[in-house]
């Protein structure tokens, strides 16, 4: 699957759920199953502190593709991280830089999730793109 297809799959999965409660249940489920972040990467350098919750992000390059690890103290945010990773983990830096996280707005979670200054998600997206740009530059 291309990165665009992966993103579309996320959008389709959530748009198929009519009920807001079920959508949130699904996100919470994703949050619970997000692979644990290695403690060594849970550093202040990898931390983005929001007013409401905190997120951590670590990125590395493996065989030309981005390998992402992340965590949050809030479960719904963890779920959103899992969704972000569904799209961006394993992407090439070029794909990641070229792909805006449209799914956040399109899966109907409400504006409080897309206006994500408080929960650190926006900063996380920015950070993924920044890593992608750096990896891209390193590859040249």
């Amino acid at each position: 699957m291309t990165i665009a297809e992966r993103q579309q799959a996320v959008i389709d999965e959530f748009n198929a759920i009519a009920d807001w409660e079920e959508r949130y249940r699904r996100i919470i489920e994703y949050g619970r199953t997000l692979p644990a972040m290695e403690d060594a990467h849970k550093t202040d350098k990898n931390k983005v502190k929001g007013c409401q919750s905190t997120v951590w992000l670590h990125a590395a390059m493996k065989e030309g593709r981005m390998a992402l690890q992340g965590d949050s103290d809030a479960m719904i945010v963890r779920g959103l991280i899992a969704l972000l990773f569904k799209v961006y983990d394993g992407a090439t830096p070029i794909e990641a830089t070229a792909t805006p996280p449209d799914f956040i707005n399109e899966i109907g979670l409400g504006r409080n999730l897309s206006q994500t200054r408080a929960n650190g998600l926006a900063a996380m997206v920015k950070q993924i793109k920044l890593y992608a740009a750096v990896f891209q530059a390193m590859q040249r």
């Binding site: 409401q52 919750s53 409080n112």
Partner: protein
């Protein structure tokens, strides 16, 4: 409850247009009043009326419009004076809000009066806006910031407070009602003790003004600051009241138009009160609309508001006490407006998102009071905060909403 019979919430709600709207397909349950209160029609209409009929710059009355606007602007100042029971209207300075009021005092009074070895006493329950300006002025003057602790209910420890008062204490800067905990501080008593050691007393009244009658003379304080938007007025306007004697001795903070008497390149003499502290064109329309808001709440009656809200907060506290896994943060015997809590095993941010989906607006986070969160060893709290337009039915909706949160995360 006799007060409840005289307090007609249904007709009051009808005066707040926004309360009729829906959020996510549910009726809005607005419980974020401590962050900002909604506006009654009279405030919205006043803003419109100023701009549609009588708007011009103030204090430059070469024409009819300016004279009329100036009259309304200064009438609003007199409304503020009456609202606070201030001795004189020129003691009421229009500012952007509580934060600017505190920064004005720290920059003007603080810079002129503080020296190394002096102490500024605050409490452990301050909002960042009553911590950071003092830290900044301490860095510049060599004065020291001293903190009076609270107990596990979020009540100030009076003996500890007294221990920290000494002739070195030049200023007591304290919150009247805590935004994170709801605690009402015994300001009159604190001021009396601070005065006994010769300290000047500033009160952050942002959370007190919407909930109870304020009489700055009875409180015996020197400065009192509040924000318009929390007392049903517009955002971007607030008031610093200060005793004339102190304000007159203070150097201006910002320079510009309005605040001068005469200017030459050699020497400028400053205007008297209040204009000396209102450099530049003021926030004219919002000042006038703040006056309308204060008249509105005064007409409802602050004693009736206080009684109604007290009863509502007690009801809410009793209702949430029945929820397993919920812990209230801030259980002081004297509280106003605020119900802060945490849920076992559920992050406040998660709870806030699920409550929002149900049309319930609360604030989650640290409430610009990180030291308070640290004291209670919580990362963040969920805060429901009440106004006189809230109802028992809305408290019930909150309780049902919290149970839904717990169900989703179980």
């Amino acid at each position: 409850m006799p007060q409840l019979q005289t307090f007609d919430v249904a007709s009051i709600r009808a005066e707040f247009p926004i309360l009729a709207r829906e959020v996510h397909g549910r009726p809005l349950v607005y419980l974020d009043n401590a962050a900002s209160a909604q506006k009654p029609r009279v405030v919205i209409d006043t803003l419109r009326d100023v701009y549609e009929r009588e708007y011009s710059n103030v204090h430059r009355a070469a024409h009819e419009l300016s004279a009329a606007t100036t009259e309304r602007f200064e009438a609003a100042r007199r409304t503020v004076q009456r609202f606070l029971n201030a001795p004189e209207d020129r003691e009421c300075i229009f500012v952007r809000g509580t934060t600017e009021a505190i920064n004005l005092v720290s920059n003007s009074w603080g810079r002129a009066n503080l020296k190394p070895g002096d102490e500024i006493l605050i409490t452990a329950m301050e909002h960042h806006s009553n911590i950071v300006p003092w830290q900044m002025i301490c860095q510049q003057t060599g004065a020291k910031l001293v903190v009076a602790p609270m107990d596990q209910t979020g009540t100030l420890l009076m003996p500890e407070f007294e221990k920290r008062l000494s002739p070195r204490t030049k200023l007591l800067a304290c919150v009247h009602v805590s935004n994170a905990l709801g605690t009402i501080n015994p300001i009159a008593e604190m001021a009396r003790r601070a005065k006994a050691v010769g300290a000047v007393v500033l009160v952050d009244g942002a959370q007190a003004v919407p909930h109870s009658r304020i009489d700055v003379q009875a409180l015996g304080v020197d400065f009192y600051a509040f924000s318009g938007h929390k007392v049903y007025g517009p955002s971007g306007i607030g008031v610093l009241w200060g005793r004339a004697e102190l304000l007159e001795a203070m150097p201006p903070w910002q320079g510009g138009g309005e605040m001068i008497k005469s200017v030459s390149f050699e020497k400028t003499t400053y205007a008297g009160l209040p204009h000396r502290f209102e450099a530049g064109t003021p926030n004219i329309a919002d000042s006038i609309a703040l006056g309308a808001a204060l008249e509105y709440v005064s007409k409802l009656g602050l004693d009736a508001i206080e009684a109604y809200e007290h009863e509502l907060l007690q009801y809410a506290t009793a209702q949430v006490a029945q929820i397993k896994g919920l812990r209230v943060i801030g259980t002081s015997p004297r509280k106003a407006g605020v119900l802060g809590f945490v849920l076992d095993g559920i992050h406040a941010a998660d709870a806030g998102m699920i409550l929002d989906q149900q049309g319930i607006a609360v604030r989650v986070g640290q409430h610009c009071a990180e030291p308070v969160m640290d004291f209670f060893k919580v990362q963040a709290t969920i805060r429901a905060s009440f106004a006189f337009y809230n109802t028992r039915a809305e408290v019930d909706a909150l309780v049902a909403g919290i149970r839904k949160v717990q169900e989703l995360f179980s």
